[in-house]
């Protein structure tokens, strides 16, 4: 059973990619519908399996860890697999309607979409440093391809910049992997952890961890390495922006977090942890501030991503040399933040796409009067905003609440200030959009009405982000499940 589920996660997305490459857009859409159904069922199946039996290591090709590639299937991984299934299928369904099927190059959207999905699954489950590198490249190149798809000069500029940043990030990561392999003679994360448990930490590979985390931070767009993100996320088509902001940047963060939790205690340092946390805090403030100053709707949402990504990096100081319970609280808070941001931001980008479609302009001041005509998409946008502003009962609130407790519990009260400032600033940039859309504008009363399915999808995502606060206990309980050290059940 597990075998089939793993096959379904790692290989079927690749098969969908091949199938959709061979067909045109309309058939690709049909294949994608089937594919989405299968992937959601498989992801749910694996989640249930892990929820019942606990996590396990899975050896690919039947070769054990140092020689072959092992996958780590634990509660966190399956939570993210399920999140990917939810967000990616929403974006896929939205894209099927949103994207113009008459442009011949749009047929390539589907294979890139499926390659992206398979890369994401490979990263969530990866337990091998080099395999994670290949997975990251798979994600980056397909994301760049999606941004550039049929684009004009601006989109190409954004995608070239994105590509260069992603490549530099990957190289830094690979350099770290090379040093790790030189020191420990293995590529398996679990193998390195086992070695570190039995020996005192050597001096050399500290740089390896620093390099890997710096490279991944560049790919996650941590301040001050964030400059590539707003152009790329702002200019891509809305379903693509949603995918990029909700999932792609999370993949590199996920690896960084995994590495930090595995090697941080032995190879990291307090200064490094505080430094990363500081950059995260600066990202929250600076990203929100820039979001307030943008004139384009999607640029606001993109800069909001820069800010929200900043919260994630508070994981580093909040898990370094603190008590077990505080560390767990911080990890849970960050996980909730990832999930709620993914859902809310995907909802927001899709809703923003609908708004832009209906007013025919991407400027914020063009939204004047839209509140009378398109309340549904605007409502989704607002609901997603509730989660970003971390008001109760949203998932964003539950996440920040846990982070607040963790920062107070570890005596690092200064992060609480970041949390507060971030909440207020996000309210500022979101209310700017609401205000613009509620402004009365008697001159423009011609709005294009997007189809109902386009409007429902962001709504569902926004409601999920909002409702996450109610089910956070259940979501987090899967994360804390015991981990069966010996192979698959």
């Amino acid at each position: 059973m597990t075998l089939w589920l793993m096959a379904g996660l790692l290989f079927t997305p690749l098969a969908w990619a091949v199938l959709t490459l061979l067909t045109d857009f309309v058939w690709g859409r049909r294949v994608t519908w089937v594919g989405i159904l299968v992937q959601v069922l498989v992801s749910l199946g694996l989640w249930l399996t892990v929820a019942q039996h606990g996590g396990f290591y899975y050896d690919l090709g039947g070769w054990g860890a140092p020689l072959g590639i092992e996958l780590r299937v634990d509660g966190l991984a399956v939570t993210f697999v399920l999140l990917t299934a939810a967000v990616a299928s929403a974006c896929g369904l939205h894209a099927g309607v949103y994207i113009d099927q008459h442009k011949p190059w749009h047929r390539y959207f589907w294979p890139l979409f499926w390659f992206l999905w398979s890369g994401l699954n490979a990263v969530w489950l990866g337990g091998d440093l080099f395999n994670l590198y290949v997975g990251l490249e798979l994600i980056s190149l397909s994301a760049v391809g999606l941004v550039a798809l049929g684009g004009n000069a601006n989109a190409l500029r954004a995608s070239i910049r994105y590509l260069l940043a992603a490549l530099l990030g990957s190289l830094a990561y690979l350099l770290g992997v090379a040093l790790i392999y030189g020191q420990f003679g293995t590529l398996s994360i679990a193998g390195v952890v086992a070695w570190l448990d039995n020996h005192s930490a050597p001096a050399g590979p500290g740089l390896a961890l620093a390099l890997m985390i710096t490279g991944l931070a560049l790919k996650t767009a941590l301040f001050p390495l964030h400059r590539w993100l707003p152009p790329a996320h702002g200019i891509a088509k809305s379903p693509v922006s949603a995918l990029l902001s909700a999932l792609v940047v999370k993949a590199s963060f996920y690896i960084a977090a995994r590495l930090w939790l595995a090697f941080g205690e032995s190879l990291g340092s307090l200064a490094a942890a505080q430094m990363v946390g500081l950059l995260g805090g600066a990202a929250v403030v600076w990203g929100s501030w820039l979001a307030c100053k943008q004139a384009q709707l999607k640029q606001v949402v993109a800069y909001s991503s820069v800010a929200q990504i900043g919260y994630l990096f508070l994981l580093f100081p909040l898990t370094y040399s603190v008590s077990e319970s505080v560390s767990l609280q911080a990890q849970q808070g960050i996980t909730l933040q990832v999930i709620s941001h993914a859902l809310a931001k995907a909802a927001m980008f899709l809703a923003a796409g609908n708004l832009i479609l209906s007013v025919g302009s991407s400027r914020i001041d063009a939204l004047a009067g839209v509140s009378r005509f398109l309340p549904f998409s605007l409502f989704s946008f607002g609901l997603a905003g509730v989660s970003l502003m971390s008001l109760p009962p949203s998932g964003g609130f539950a996440a920040k609440w846990l982070l607040l407790q963790a920062s107070l519990g570890s005596g690092q009260w200064w992060w609480a200030l970041v949390l507060l400032a971030g909440g207020l600033l996000s309210a500022a940039y979101l209310f700017r959009i609401y205000r613009a859309s509620f402004a009365e504008n008697p001159e423009t009363d011609q709005f294009f009405h997007p189809s109902k399915s386009l409007e429902i999808i962001p709504m569902v995502l926004a409601v999920m982000a909002l409702g996450l606060g109610f089910v956070s206990e259940q979501v987090l309980s899967v994360m804390a499940l015991p981990f069966a050290e010996e192979g698959a059940p």
Binding site: L156, L167, L168, G185
Partner: protein, 106 residues
């Protein structure tokens, strides 16, 4: 010290040169050259360092082969994007355009 280690150290220097080029050069094709040089440096470290300790080791060699193929894929994609970008905008660098007020090399 073995000659393997010498190559690993040369790889470190190549990484530095490549990084400088990637950050400082503005022409996109030059950035691409710099990326490839930095990549070569990383590959040298990847093979040289473990081989210094335990002799010829096929595992990192296989990894580097994979890495080279990934690098050529990325390079080829970048060339296509750059040429298309040049075709549409007549520019070969990312700088000096409107709309990126806080633009930088990355």
């Amino acid at each position: 010290m073995t000659s393997y280690l010498l190559y690993a150290l040369a790889g470190a220097a190549l990484c530095g040169i490549g990084l400088f080029g990637l950050l400082r050069l503005s022409h996109l094709l030059r950035k691409l050259l710099a990326f490839n040089i930095m990549g070569s440096g990383v590959f040298l470290i990847m093979v040289g360092l473990p081989q210094h300790q335990s002799g010829p080791d096929p595992v990192p060699q296989a990894l580097v082969l994979t890495g080279i193929v990934v690098a050529i894929a990325a390079t080829a994609l970048a060339v296509v994007l750059i040429r298309r970008y040049y075709h549409q905008s007549g520019m070969t660098s990312l700088e000096g355009e409107a709309g990126s007020r806080e633009g930088g090399p990355l």
